[in-house]
């Protein structure tokens, strides 16, 4: 059991490639942290640095309070599950699982007992004397997990452990990994490029892009309050719809119509009108006839011609075309889509995806009214990608509190906790 602290950790390869750039992340004891990002974002490199399989160029890595930068993997007391499982083909399942204990010169009786226990908990008891070549993919995956569990390490590192399984098995194993981590209560760092895995498994999800940490937050917060355009576009499926917009004193002008904006956001960016990128998630659209009258004023109603309608039973997806004014941000959005691994979704296309209640009577090809929830809009600075709606809430409430504190007590108040700012921003 141990906490892990990455302090300004940087990895630069001899050829000058910067794989990880000043990554700082505190992983608490017993926490389940997911590193997620498109391929090449540095997540596996980070994991390898945690394991000690790659050197750290700059910065400090502390496990359980001790600096371990120069410690070899064997001195770090961590177990790792590899994407390819990396089972030793010349050893039986039993030998594979007991290998680390054997290296640690554990008495044979203890090894046997631990291996038997772990095998029992993973349903591998009947397979202990087989070689890896005679196991199915799912069984190999279990053995790889078993090899990690047997050691009772300070932390588990998982490098896309489920990506080689078929979809059904993946869901099943995902549940098992989650249960396992809860049962053992061991710190776990899990790398994946699959956002569903990231959102369902972790206590906290760290999103990386090109070696830079974008945001580390609990899954729900990541989804609801992405700090920038990349996180907003990467998390969520189907991904967030982006369009151009203008923010001025009159509100937020978007291709869908003029939206009311909350006071704090307008305050933050008011003086001159300002170009922005507006993001709205598919589920924030609705059939107006299904929106109750007291909610309807919080959004706007607009007209669209439905191109395609996909009925999935529990929900309906509709696709419609609209002049979203994306052309001026096409470079940014394309880069984003490429980085997010969604090059095929057509960053420049002017299609909007909406997820509607299955009760809707909307049909394909019809010209219909749709309602968009203005409260759920995200507004991004096109230059920096920063989420203004989140940032505005934070700074506005922070300023307000500081002001109130200073007036009330005539003293410097400590800066508000992030939890407070989050809640106040979320309600706006």
């Amino acid at each position: 059991m141990a906490d892990m602290v990455l302090d300004q950790v940087t990895k630069r390869y001899p050829d000058g490639t910067l794989a990880v750039d000043k990554l700082s992340l505190n992983i608490a004891d017993g926490e389940f942290v997911i590193l997620v990002g498109p391929s090449g974002c540095g997540k596996s490199t980070t994991l390898n640095m945690l394991a000690g399989l790659e050197d750290i160029t700059e910065g400090e890595l502390r496990i359980g309070g001790k600096v371990v930068n120069d410690k070899s993997p064997r001195d770090r007391d961590i177990a790792m599950v590899f994407q390819s499982y990396a089972l030793y083909p010349h050893m039986t399942v039993r030998e594979n699982m007991g290998f680390s204990l054997k290296l640690a010169k554990t008495p044979k009786g203890v090894i046997n007992q631990k291996v038997t226990e772990a095998a029992h908990s993973l349903g591998l008891t009947d397979l202990l004397d087989r070689k890896p070549a005679n196991l199915s993919g799912g069984q190999q995956q279990r053995v790889a997990m078993g090899r990690a569990i047997v050691r009772d390490p300070a932390a588990f590192l998982m490098d896309e452990p489920l990506s080689n399984l078929d979809a059904k098995l993946r869901v099943q194993m995902r549940l098992e990994v989650s249960k396992l981590q809860k049962r053992l209560g061991t710190t776990m760092v899990y790398v994946t490029h699959d956002q569903t895995e990231a959102l369902t498994l972790g206590d906290r999800v760290a999103v990386l892009r090109a070696g830079v940490l974008q945001q580390a937050a609990p899954p729900q917060e990541l989804y609801e309050r992405p700090v920038n355009l990349f996180v907003a576009g990467f998390i969520g499926s189907p991904s967030m719809n982006f369009m151009s917009g203008t923010l001025d004193s009159g509100g937020l002008r978007t291709p869908l119509g003029d939206m009311p904006v909350s006071g704090s956001l307008r305050q933050e960016v008011s003086t001159a009108s300002r170009e922005v990128i507006v993001g709205i998630r598919p589920e924030n659209f609705q059939d107006p006839s299904l929106v109750s009258a007291d909610v309807r004023p919080h959004g706007i109603t607009f007209q669209a011609t439905i191109d395609v309608l996909e009925s999935l039973g529990a929900e309906k997806y509709v696709y419609f075309n609209m002049d979203l004014g994306k052309a001026k941000y096409v470079t940014e959005l394309e880069e984003l889509a490429r980085d997010a691994g969604r090059a095929d979704s057509g960053a420049a296309s002017e299609t909007v995806v909406a997820r509607l209640d299955p009760a809707t009577r909307i049909s394909e090809g019809a010209k219909v009214q749709l309602w968009a929830d203005a409260r759920a809009l995200h507004v991004f600075d096109p230059a920096t990608g920063r989420n203004l709606s989140v940032a505005a809430g934070t700074t506005a409430s922070a300023a307000g509190q500081a002001g109130a504190g200073a007036a009330g007590h005539g003293a410097v108040t400590p800066s508000p906790t992030s939890a407070q700012t989050r809640s106040s921003a979320a309600t706006q």
Binding site: R74, M80, Y85, A86, F99, P132, Q140, R151
Partner: protein, 276 residues
């Protein structure tokens, strides 16, 4: 179907020709070794009168038995040392990014194609001044030098096939680099090691040029060289029978060696290591 039959016949004929071309001389040697000295010039393929005389003659004669032991000893020692060093060198070539890697590989290739005859005279002089002439080390050292490049080449190819992640897994499991090599990588490269060991041993076993140039007595002379020094029962008899018998004898270890290990060479040990 007609083409299939014809193809079968064609391949069969080609196989038969190849087999005959290769097997006839071998069988001829075997046949000669069982003929009596008087019947050596007998043109019939099978001996009219079978005799073990040639075998009992050479196996009781120290001019053959001692060289046979030399061959076995020198061959095994040279093979062992060459494979141990080659596995380490091949591992470095396959796995480590080190300066001068290409130079090492190119150097190994250069050595393996170097004509041995050009080295005989310098080696003779060097070994004479170092008192290595006519000793086991005097042959073992050049054999290692020529066996290594071959072994490095074969083993490097094997090491490259072993998934890199296995070594990482071993390290995370708490293995030192040496343990990772000996307990995980080397066992997986065993087929490669056996293959290279067989080839190096066969090279040492068959080698004639150094064996005859760098030895002067039976204290270090190997079997192939000893064959050249065979003499007949008298000044006027050719030692054809004993030579044939000795040739058969020195073929036997190779046959045993290959038939014991060929399964290991063929078996793909790395299957099931990683998925995909």
């Amino acid at each position: 179907m007609a083409t299939t039959t014809r193809q079968k016949a064609g391949w069969g004929a080609a196989n038969a020709v190849t087999f005959v071309v290769i097997a006839i001389p071998l069988l001829w040697i075997a046949s000669l070794s069982f003929k009596t000295p008087a019947a050596i010039t007998d043109p019939s393929f099978w001996p009219a009168q079978w005799t073990w005389g040639n075998y009992s003659g050479i196996l009781t004669n120290s001019t053959f038995v001692r060289p046979l032991l030399n061959s076995i000893g020198i061959g095994l020692i040279a093979t062992f040392i060459a494979v141990v060093f080659a596995s380490m060198a091949a591992y470095a070539v396959a796995r480590l990014a080190m300066p001068g890697k290409r130079l090492i590989v190119a150097g190994a290739l250069l050595i393996s194609i170097f004509p041995q005859i050009s080295l005989v005279t310098p080696l003779y002089n060097i070994e004479r001044s170092l008192s290595l002439f006519n000793t086991w080390p005097g042959l073992i050292i050049p054999y290692i030098a020529f066996g290594l490049p071959m072994a490095v080449y074969i083993l490097a190819a094997f090491f490259q096939q072993i998934p890199w992640q296995l070594e990482k897994a071993a390290k995370v499991d708490g293995a030192t680099p040496w343990q990772a090599f000996t307990k995980v990588i080397a066992p997986l490269a065993a087929p490669g090691m056996v293959t290279s060991a067989i080839l190096v041993f066969m090279f040492c076993w068959n080698e004639f040029l150094f064996a005859i140039s760098l030895t002067s007595t039976t204290s270090a002379r190997t079997a192939p060289a000893a064959l050249a020094f065979f003499s007949g029962g008298s000044q006027f008899t050719t030692p054809t029978g004993p030579i044939a018998a000795a040739a058969v004898v020195i073929t036997i270890p190779i046959i045993i060696f290959v038939s014991v290990f060929q399964r290991r060479i063929v078996s793909g040990l790395t299957s099931g290591a990683v998925k995909g």
